[in-house]
Each structure stands twice: as structure tokens, then as C-alpha cells.
Symmetry: C2
Subunit: 224 residues, 2 copies
Amino acid sequence: MILLSGGLDSATTAAIAAKQGFGLYALSVDYGQRHRFELAAARRVALALAAKEHVVLAVALGQLGGSALTSPIEVPKDRSGDQMAHGIPITYVPARNTVLLSLALAYAEVVGAADIFLGVNAIDYSGYPDCRPEFIAAFSALANLATKAGVEGRLKFHIHTPLIQWTKAEIIRRGVELGVDYGLTHTCYDPDPAGLSCGRCDACLLRRKGFAEAGLADPLPYQG
Amino acid sequence: MILLSGGLDSATTAAIAAKQGFGLYALSVDYGQRHRFELAAARRVALALAAKEHVVLAVALGQLGGSALTSPIEVPKDRSGDQMAHGIPITYVPARNTVLLSLALAYAEVVGAADIFLGVNAIDYSGYPDCRPEFIAAFSALANLATKAGVEGRLKFHIHTPLIQWTKAEIIRRGVELGVDYGLTHTCYDPDPAGLSCGRCDACLLRRKGFAEAGLADPLPYQG
């Protein structure tokens, strides 16, 4: 079972899970993100990786507010690596990965999948608290207490985060080895109405830096 | 901040939180439950308790299947106490309380509430794994790792479950003391199209037993 956002990290994680022999049950969550183009990217990636099933579940986190990703708050642009390294930015969505993993857990229990793959990364990332190993460990503990399948011992849930200690360049190199077509993915937080990436938000900057460091060309076009 | 289902337990929990001086930010989740009448009950309870805000968030857990509460699977009727005491019934919704608490956490972080009230009960209950104290403790640990407000130390999240070790009769007596109007609540898993309670599902049976043991009349009418 894989949480598939449609971005670079989750596409790579899905390819890693497939390579390990797991059948892919993919879940994408429409949480009101302004970069909803990533949901179309998730469909393309699920198709390319021959997922057994791809479910898109909607939950309007934007109704709660509090984030530049779901509310009419400006997405920061052109931040330096130093700026990104300090503090949690306004693009943080309150409790997002807790919500996403809880939905993944529900889906995993229904399809009988003990292995939940998540493309979080704690190296080249935006400083979100719910991308760190200690968060993942706490959720794993919770998962086995929270579910009928866990309590009855039918499934021992395990949250796999193969990318968590990799740089973006390492992620991209591994993905390319596995045949991931990064032209299918979507990364930008603030695309134009046609879906074209801005190239300047934290997510675009981390992606472009990753391709540059990997010595590879990013197949995505950018604005300007 | 209170998770308000519209049932007897969450109404009592809300009254307890109000009595303790907390302003009530109420969240109800439309997860595709067949007993959607409880959402109207939640509105009535929020109004009666003068909640500062009441948000209803939709997430279609029924899309995932796996439960008699969200799928066309028959709700068990007329089960004995012994039957209820053994095993987790088909009305279990995969990872429901994990999903509900994760949404509560998102909402609590946005409104700046460190105290999350939840009306779970591990005595007169249906055997759900996500109603037990060890589940609540695991979620509390997670909450403070998962959030910007938790990591930055602005909020120390605490999950309050005042009813967790009470019998249904104790819950009802306390609620009546606090002036809760149980005629506003909805409990039945399988109401008729007009919203009239069946009186025979686990939830109805536990409620009716609770009123009987408390020596009080249940203000709700039942079918038949």
C-alpha cells in the first residue's frame, strides 16, 4: 500500500515497493491542495507502475484553514537553503501526514496490506515535523493498537520510508535506475492555471537542486 | 476542542469540557456513516452547548469499504452482552478513531486548542480497539511529534477521555446532572428512513441498558 501524492518522492517510493515485489494499492488524498495537478500526476504514476488499484479520497482540510497550501495565503518563493533550513514554513498543512497516514491505515486494513509505503524525506525537505523518523515510529506504534487487524494479530503494520535519509539527488538517481519517468510527476506548490511549475517555491527549488546535483535533466518545463 | 458525533457519549463529554471552562470548538466528521442522522444531532448539541464553532468535515471512508456502518452490510441486531463482549464486530470502521483524531488534531492546531476531548468508552462499548486507553496514549504521543505547534512548544496536546472508565449508566447520570438533553442526541447505527432508532443494534442496546441501570427514562422514541 502506497500513499501516492503524484510528486517525485512518492513516485520513487512506489517504484521501490514494486521492485521489492509488493502489489501496489495506491491512495491519493485530495485535501484541497492548491497544487491539485498532483492528483492527475498520481493517476499517471499509478498507471505507469501498473498499480492494482488507485483510490482518490477527498477530505477538505482547506475548510480548517491554516496553510498556504490550502488557503489563499501566498506561497513563499526564492527562499535560500539557509531560509529553508530554519523553521517550519507557512506551506505546512496542520497534521497533514497524520491525516494521510490514518487514511492509509484504513485503506491498508481493508485491502489486507501490512506494509505502508510513504515517500517522506528528512534531508532535502521543508522542515515539516511530520516527515521525521520519530513521527514515523510513533505512527507505527499507533497503527498496531488502532486496528482490528493489528489487535487480532492478522496484520503487523509497518511504515516503510525508504527515502527518509536520502538526499534529493540520491532519490532521483535511484528512481532513474528503476525506470521512473519523472515527466509524469508534479512537484510545484503554486503552478499556473495550466499546471506549469513556478520553479521558485521550496518544492520546485529542492527538485531542481536535486536534478542538478544528480547531473540529470529535469523533464518538467518551468514558467519563465 | 471536542469531537462531536451527535451521540450520547460525545454530548456528555462536551458538557464536561464546557463545565471545566473550555470554549467549545466542535468537529463532526461525515465519514459516510449510514446513521447520518447523528450529524444533525451533533448540530443540535453544539447549539445547545453554545459552541464557539461547529465544523462538519466530510471524508468518504465508505469508498474504502470494510464496515457495516459505511457499506451495504447488515448491522447485527439483538446481540447478547456476552456476544458483545467477545470479538470486534462488523460495525468496526477501519481506523476510524485514528482518522477522527487526526482531523481533530488538524483542527485543534488551527484554532490553537491544546485540549482535545473525545467521548470514547472502554467499559460499555462494542469492543473497538480504538476506544482503549493504550490507543489514546499512543495518539497523544504522536500528536506532539506531528505538529508545528507541538514541535515548537506552543501547544502541548492532551487527549481528554473523561468517560473512558465509566459505565453507560454513570455517563448518563453525569450528563443529566450537567443538564444534557439526551433527546437531542442520536445513537442508533441503523435508523429507519425517518431517523427513528431501531432499538436492537449494539449501540441502541447499550444505550437502553444504560438508561435502565441509571433508573432514568430515555427521551428517544424507538421503532416497534
